[in-house]
Amino acid sequence: MDVNISKLAKDLGKIVGKEYVHTDKPTSVVYAKDTMPWDLEEKNIPYAVVRPSNSEEVSKILKYANEKLIPVHIHGSGTSLVGLARPKTKGIVLDTARMKEIKVYPERGYFEAGPGVHLAQLRKELAKHNAMLPVFPGSELVATIGGTIAVNTSAHAVDAALGKPGDFVLGFEVVLPTGEVIQTGTESTRRAAGIDPTKFFIGSEGLLGVLTLVRMRLVPLPYFEHVVAYYNKTEDILDTVMEMYKQGIHPPLFYEFLDERAAKIGFEAVGLKEPIGAVAMMRVHSWSKVGSEDKAQKFFEFLKTGNPIKARIVKDIEEWNSIWSSRAEAGNYMYRLGMTFGSEISPRVDKLKDAFQEAKSIVLNLESYKNPEFISFGHIGAPTIHAYAFIPTKDITNEVKKALTLEMREKTEDLNIKYGGCGGEWGLTAQRVSFLKKKYEKEVYEVLVKMKKALDPNDILNRGNLQGWI
């Protein structure tokens, strides 16, 4: 495609103001880079970065892009772990960072936020109104509410305890790919029954429109209690999770674990005594203090039946913060020491143990890199298996990084298919078009393509994410 960059800058400048259009290459590479382990290629680097402040400007940008047939890639904070944030084709990057308004309406029972609001900031604002933001990603310092809802990620939270963030969305303002601005959903705290276009945009990963306002129900802040359990081996934790679902025990809000290796790294990183084996850490929540204490006690009693070395309710919040941060630090330290290649497997819960063992075997028998270390930690109670191949060096080529990513992806996709899962956290399309085709027959993929085409006939928004890429 032949694009006159200075004309593009001038035209976009007329829409948003010239100070909010960047066509210099340094800005373009900064916005194109994401967490994918290999470096940018020329095709990923956009012609321009444009930073609109409202839906009217977004609308004009999209109408212009349709007229000129230039792809537009939506950018929140670029924290996707599976390549959603990297433009797949040359085009315009639409940065939502200036759409940061937060309006809390306690009397209406909801809040509204611009898509560029960072979650940590939103959580702080909501806390002033005794409300909880019902999503808990590790990247919440900078992850945006627009991106979170567009992926509908559960992150740390156990779905069975809280639901997805999309379950709390009452409505949107959305700019369609062809530029029309629409309102969806309701201003009541009662969500629409039946067909509601709001649902189409939850988890649509920016393929069907640009979210310019998110309206979500206010969730009163619950009371929390914390439980930690130490085990000889990871398998005991897997058994306990399976038993929890089987017995119909209320799942905790967070049910994280560190395998034997990750527990050593994480605990050492935060200055805690090295555990003997694997560690599970749980947060339970309830709408009353008594309720949360009772829930913690009952969960603790249940845990004791699952063969832990030791389990206890942690009352000291500072101690809990240390234990909890060991989970994040395990990941950070591994990456500091080398590179990790991750996966997300969410098996049918009665097959959790089988899936875990097979995931381990996949990592230990990779072909594109011999003898990586297997490490696993994360939201096991969800259940999600994050099986990581750890390579103790950063000195590997782009080609090997790509090959490793692909091999991990393909093999763990097969595991998701075998055990009935589809991933519940990292987003599906950008890395997983092949998965969609394999798991659900080609007709399902074709339905998605038809939906995309109906709303975005020129394939303007996030082009490449529905085509499959690497």
Binding site: K25, P26, V30, S139
Partner: protein, 115 residues
């Protein structure tokens, strides 16, 4: 800075910036990022990426580039953040080294390269 020294600085920068995972956790604490209404190349993450791509030849030296790197106030907030939640990089020190390289006009591929 002689040629040997500047090469050593380039190598250090590439090696250290190579550890950056592009998590962007550092962006919000940067006063320049806040002051410029959240432009990512005015953030610690952005400056490191620009330095990396400049040294590896993806970027040429130009005005906006210089401006981005020099927007660092050396307040060190990003260092704390990277040590606590990121990859334990001395971000502001790396940016200072980058500024120095640029000021010497010694960045490989630059129009002003003196060597």
């Amino acid at each position: 800075m002689d040629i040997k020294e500047s090469q050593a600085v380039r190598n250090t920068l590439l090696q250290e910036i190579g550890k950056c995972r592009a998590c962007r956790f550092c962006i919000d604490v940067c006063p320049a990022y806040q002051a410029t209404e959240w432009v990512e190349n005015m953030s610690p993450y952005g400056r490191l990426q620009i330095l990396k791509y400049l040294i590896n030849g993806t970027l040429d030296e130009d005005d906006p580039l210089i401006y981005s790197i020099y927007s660092c106030l050396q307040c060190g907030r990003c260092d704390r953040l990277c040590k606590a939640k990121g990859q334990n990089l001395d971000v502001s020190h790396l940016i200072r080294l980058g500024k120095y390289l640029l000021s010497q006009g010694l960045v490989k591929g630059s129009k002003n390269e003196k060597v």
